[in-house]
Symmetry: C7
Subunit: 96 residues, 7 copies
């Protein structure tokens, strides 16, 4: 059984509700242990945010629903980590 | 029950009261274990500061009231972390 | 008996299935303990991604098959680590 | 009871007494466990220094008096941390 | 008795066999605990790779033979560490 | 009783005696546990060096005498740390 | 009794013998626990290398003899650390 342990999402959201409410909602989802929302940019009507979600069995579709319920849109899945252990992305010679 | 574990706020404040008094006030709020206030910029009448607040159950509205009671204004919520564990923002390939 | 402990692959994939499905598939392969997929770039029809795979006995051919089954192509093997311990690449004077 | 755990001060001082004497004095103040003084710049008559003070209950006014007794002036309070735990300033997406 | 604990080699190899096979071979050599192969550059007929080898008693000539058996050539020995402990290269004021 | 725990000195010395002899001498001073001497620059007749001294009760005047006995001169005290604990200089928003 | 715990040397050596042989020789010297040799630059007849030596009682003259026996020359002593503990060079405000 494969388990999603981390998702990093680039998300576009309206000003309301706030990132605080969104973080509260997402951290209540089953299989999620913690959520971190950082603010990339604020425009007149929207905010570009980065959502880092960690847990032992994250369900992407449930997360997606919660985000969309609050009027926000997932722009891209910048990182996903799955398996029995959380593996970090490794910087290689190609990245330098 | 979802718990806010960290808030990072961009705040504009008058010179008085000092960041020391503000740090003292905020660190006394229920659910807050520690506060760090860094100075971005000082102008003739105001100071732009960054407030990092950590705890096991931070209440944003209470924090906001304390800040506004001292004549300061929250300019933006640059980061919020919630859940049973404090999750850090993860730098992805998109950020490099 | 030599054991592959880490593979870092540069991969080109179609938009569907998502990196989430790919991470799920790869993390289910025998000998794999965890998978991390980061997004380099998104074009009109394809996505350039970086796949970091760690385990105690990764079989490259099996991984390759899983990737190709989902319509993706391994562009290059950017890093491989093998042996009884996971050894990291060491930055030398030549790399500075 | 809120406790100041760290102060970082930008200070302008005359050449004499030395930073050694100042560090000695400040580290003797009640509630202070350690002091670090770094030299930013030396001019003909003054020195611009950075004072990092840590403790479990630092009293800013007492520190200020000690500094002013030695002929120096606090230019700005660059960081203050208070609470039951020492919280570090967190770098956010806005800082990058 | 002096023991080689780490070798970092700059190597030029043909496309075949792959770095995976080379990593497997080298990690099977006596006295080697782990091998990491990173890809610097790929040309039409060759690949420039970095091989980091760690162990408790690495024999350079044996390693060299294995590399040359697979048609590759050691371009330079970028780092070697020997002794009863693995000592890291230390960045000095001259390197900044 | 306030205790100096670290001194970082910018020092100008003649080529002889060597930094090895100077490090040996300074590490023998009471209250000093270790000394690190890095080479900034070598000119025709002098060397600009950085001396990091750590201990549980360093006496600056004794250190100064030892340095001057070997014909060297303290150019500046770049850092001093004192107190019951060794406190590090903290990078603030002003330093970035 | 003062003890040299680390030496970092800038050395110019002929191509032969190799850095592997030199590392082997130096790691056999009394009081040395480990040696790391990094390659700065290769010219037609010589190699510029950095030798990091650590131990609990390194004798510089013995090390110097071993290096010179193999036809190499110490260009400069870039770092020396002595005392009962190994102290690292500390980056100060002056170095930034």
């Amino acid at each position: 059984m494969t388990r999603i342990r981390r998702l990093v999402l680039d998300v576009l959201k309206p000003h309301h509700p706030s990132t605080i409410e969104l973080a509260g909602k997402l951290s209540g989802v089953d299989g999620v242990t913690g959520v971190n929302i950082g603010l990339y940019e604020v425009d007149q009507r929207t905010e570009n945010i980065k959502i880092t979600i960690e847990g032992d069995n994250i369900e992407y579709e449930v997360v997606k629903q919660e985000i969309e319920k609050l009027g926000a849109v997932i722009h891209s899945i910048d990182e996903v980590a799955a398996g029995s252990l959380l593996v970090e992305e490794v910087e290689t010679l190609q990245d330098r």
